[in-house]
Symmetry: C2
Subunit: 350 residues, 2 copies
């Protein structure tokens, strides 16, 4: 026994339209009398009327929901993005349907379809895999999409990401300015764009300092395991590096463990710098120096851009004359930040 516009209208002996107008806040616009308005308002309150967003969506072709597709919510980084996106959306009157696709391209495809079916007004996605075609199709259909964190080069898709190149540069320059030259870099998934950019930043900074011959990039996964294994190899090589740049905090954990096990001391024997933030990093022994991504800004901006696109589209649809293409491509590379802690110092000797 759901309350609807009709049940209320019947009870009050007026038409559904009037009830609709009052309750959708258009009383002014349609000059409903105060008497009628109050009567409707009171009755709605009394019977706990909640308009059906489903029916409303069907009629208005807008859902006030956006889809948020993430590779893995249990990853702190993405969880933080989710938290910010969700709260930003709420502020603007939107809800977020969050999909966790477990780094699985198949699930991702399914999620996009499912969200499209739910007629969400737009999509924020940190895509997994390296095939933009799925998303480009969505974009072609004039459906608002913004990528976050991960993106594609040579694609028309808008995105917001960390300036990973700059992050890599900053990290390595920091090491170099501390007197390091044998700086090794342990990377994650080679094909991932953020990873590649971080590596490029590393390489540039090394070259800039004339350290070409010390460039050394190893590893192939964003995992503790990878960090551990690669670090052991690095420590056994000779001359061993005086500093390690880990391209993610998971890698850094593996590195941390390997160094501890080897009996070497951070930072006296070897320096460590990591990517990504986490409270725990401040409570390690020693606290870990790191490059942090502007998660909050990223999430906020991606929401803002998406809502902008949604608004644009709405306007374009209303003015029937314009053909209706969205040509704007927003691209943002936000600056990461260096957080100095105690895992980097001047090397003992060279």
């Amino acid at each position: 026994m759901r309350e609807t516009l009709l049940t209320i209208a019947n009870r009050l002996g007026i038409s559904m339209t009037t009830v609709s107008r009052v309750l959708s806040g258009n009383a002014e616009k349609y000059r409903i009398s105060n008497k009628t308005r109050d009567m409707v308002m009171n009755e709605a309150q009394r019977c706990h009327y909640t308009p059906s967003a489903v029916a409303r969506s069907l009629r208005t072709q807008r859902s006030n929901m956006i889809g948020l597709i993430l590779p893995s919510v249990s990853n702190k980084y993405f969880a933080d993005i989710a938290a910010v996106v969700i709260s930003e959306c709420r502020q603007k009157g939107y809800s977020a349907i969050v999909m966790d696709v477990s780094e699985n391209e198949g699930f991702q495809k399914e999620s996009i379809r499912s969200l499209a079916a739910r007629e969400v007004d737009g999509l924020i996605i940190a895509p997994c895999g390296d095939d933009p075609s799925q998303l480009e199709m969505v974009d072609e259909m004039h459906f608002p999409v913004v990528l976050v964190d991960r993106y594609f080069e040579n694609s028309r898709l808008s995105y917001v990401t960390t300036n990973n190149y700059q992050g890599g540069m900053t990290a390595v320059r920091h090491l170099i300015s501390n007197g390091h030259s044998r700086i090794a870099c342990i990377q994650g998934v080679e094909t991932s764009l953020p990873n590649r950019k971080r590596v490029e930043g590393y390489v540039s900074a090394m070259k800039e300092a004339g350290l070409d011959e010390h460039i050394r990039v190893t590893g192939n996964d964003f995992s503790v395991q990878n960090g551990y294994v690669e670090t052991r190899l690095l420590l056994n090589s000779s001359p061993r590096p005086t500093a390690i740049f880990a391209l993610s905090n998971t890698i850094a954990l593996g590195t941390f463990k390997a160094i501890k096990e080897s009996g070497l001391k951070i930072p006296d024997d070897i320096s460590l710098i990591s990517f990504d933030d986490n409270v725990y990093l401040d409570y390690m022994e020693p606290p870990v120096t790191r490059i942090i991504q502007p998660v909050e800004d990223m999430a906020k901006l991606s929401v803002r851009i998406l809502l902008g696109k949604i608004e644009d589209r709405r306007l374009r649809c209303e003015s029937a004359d314009s053909p209706g293409k969205d040509n704007s491509k927003s691209v943002l590379h936000l600056a990461p930040k260096l957080v100095r802690r105690d895992s980097v110092c001047v090397p003992f000797c060279d």
Copy 2:
């Protein structure tokens, strides 16, 4: 220009109903001929038809979405719950709308309303605040709800939670079996039920061992700050405790820091045991012994219970004779687990 059942039907020169029947997988049931079925399937494929979940929901009065309301997604614990709930739901053909209410009761109320308006099929919620009335109202309306992690005593609401009492017991028994007697407990928000149960567990274990006079509970917040301050006080007291039981991992971080600063060694000078899991705890110096909550089971079970309730309700609605009340109250207290690491050992002297 959206593709609908009608556009497809017109193009093929058949009725909408037939198209609907084929595409909703009821071809068998209504004995649609293979020829027609294939024709429809192919056409749907060709024009990328995606059924409107909105229209479908309006018609069927079910959305295949559930609402998940959490106090804070950026809290790793809840993020993990979200991840599991989302993936379990996907497996059962449901999507999850995640709401983050920032520990704000007002937002929570708003979220419940908004989800109700969206006609989600059910609700999983880790409620904030200590007022069950809102949720009890929802429950009264025969709307499927399951609480997770947090719950209310003296309420008819179903819930799934960790057996926090047992967790407290286990932690303290572990310390006692290692020879400790001066065991202090630093708690979080006093009024929160999980906190109270953990404290009760602590007290029981102490009494059980005849250590009544050593019972010592301090603190009032689930924060690093609180852990830090209370630990400093404890360390300055005399005789100081030989072990500290921190009721959350944030508290444990504060404790950790304070102990380090004091120059004392964990576990030789003082033992530490914590609540909640986190990878980082394995990489601290020393790795922290802790009680972990069965997050995955909790999330899975809450989904299962919720979907059960949803199913029940559906059946009850279909058979018009039965009045339609859901009397079942599911209550689950899942056993936490002790993860032994290196922050607990036999005290040096007593």
